[in-house]
Symmetry: C2
């Protein structure tokens, strides 16, 4: 296999999930998983769903602790790269340095310490707002940078409890970058006027998830996406941890 993936978005996300750290910010998918794990012990760590898994780093990290992990993403291209890594054990890609110039990168399951995990996880393309019935009975559903990319986030939040096992956890992280390109404005959970007053996304999440969930924790988690060797997106996501009340 000597093909280097050079699609800009795919390469940025491969580097984001599996590549170098910048500005001293720790790997984000791994940091998200670490923050989820404190709510679990071996007895409860059975099934996890990584919804909006992109190229799959958190899915692999969850598989260290959960007997079965499903990774689902709306993008067939992202999922295909996660599957390639799982099946072939290696992905090569290029990241931009300056203009059209690139550097070459390689990631391997062996170097990541994931070789023994690959039978525990299953990647599939799917729509978070219209999941197939078999996606259910999870102890944890993790949605990393998903909620502001859904076409109907309230519909998602008001039905996702059907997929959780009793007292299971729903963990949401997002920089709340609402864009009409992804979500019509009247479906934004926050960042707009509602009933004459400013509503934040966290307030919108509470309105959708109460009383089926109780909010266990809110914290900030930074992440960095490299665009070139001198240009980066540097964001601070908000993580909210919700436990099902039934």
């Amino acid at each position: 296999m000597n093909i280097y993936e050079s699609d800009t978005t795919i390469s940025q996300y491969l580097e984001f999930h599996y590549g170098d750290e910048y500005f001293g910010v720790p790997n984000y998918p791994s940091a998200c998983v670490d923050n989820c794990l404190k709510f679990f012990n071996d007895h409860t760590s059975r099934r996890a769903l990584d919804l909006g898994c992109s190229v799959g780093r958190a899915t692999f990290e969850f598989a260290k602790h959960f007997a079965h992990v499903d990774g689902v993403d709306f993008s067939a291209q992202f999922i295909q790269h996660a599957i390639t890594l799982q099946e072939e054990g290696c992905i090569r890609f290029t990241v931009k340095t300056e203009g059209d110039l690139v550097e070459h990168k390689e990631i391997t399951l062996a170097a990541l310490g994931y070789d023994s995990l690959k039978t525990r996880l299953h990647f599939t393309q799917g729509d978070a707002c219209d999941l197939k019935p078999e996606y259910k009975d999870y102890n944890l559903i993790f949605c990393g940078n998903l909620i502001d990319r859904l076409y109907d986030p309230a519909l998602f939040l008001k039905t996702i409890h059907q997929r959780l096992s009793p007292n299971g956890f729903l963990v949401l992280t997002s920089p709340y970058t609402w864009l009409e390109e992804f979500t019509e404005k009247d479906k934004w959970l926050g960042g707009r006027l509602q009933n004459g007053k400013n509503q934040t996304t966290l307030e919108g999440l509470k309105m959708c998830l109460t009383p089926r969930f109780t909010l266990q924790e809110v914290k900030d988690l930074p992440f960095v996406i490299r665009e070139t060797q001198r240009k980066f997106q540097h964001c601070v996501a908000e993580m909210s941890v919700w436990q099902g009340t039934q």
Copy 2:
């Protein structure tokens, strides 16, 4: 005056130049000026040109040390905001927090300590690649984040010495984000193949500026542009300091 500027790009640049610092990164226009000043003493600090001055922060900072400073930008909108600050002493604007929600900001010459400087500087709209004859005899020409936004950067570099006084300085800073939207690819100074080998922008600068200039210093300078309260562009510009050889 009770009007808040809410154009996204203008507001981002007003915040970038005059607003808060993020991730511990110092104010970029001020840091650029500080790095230029070590090459000057009172005797030589007569005339400076801030080319691509945007909303004008570095122009004001240079005016603390130079008897006359011209601030020139291609964008009439940017220049108009610099002039408004100079003439009215105050600009109000909004910055995005989340979605459509904003916070209100105000900058004043008084709070910036610039009140006494405003007679030393002159803002005008202009094209760096086609400057009017009166822009000349500068001891310093500073081009902050300009070179990768010109339609013909080589033409600019090969003629700019005509505007400098003997042994004057040309200072360039840029993250070298070459985009065909601004510069046709065959005019990129670097970030592409040239004569069968990868050429960096610094190499391209050397080719254009030698032997009329000698390179005095190259260093990295970070900057941060806020898009929302949780999303930022975090870049690392390269500053190169060139002294005219005649």
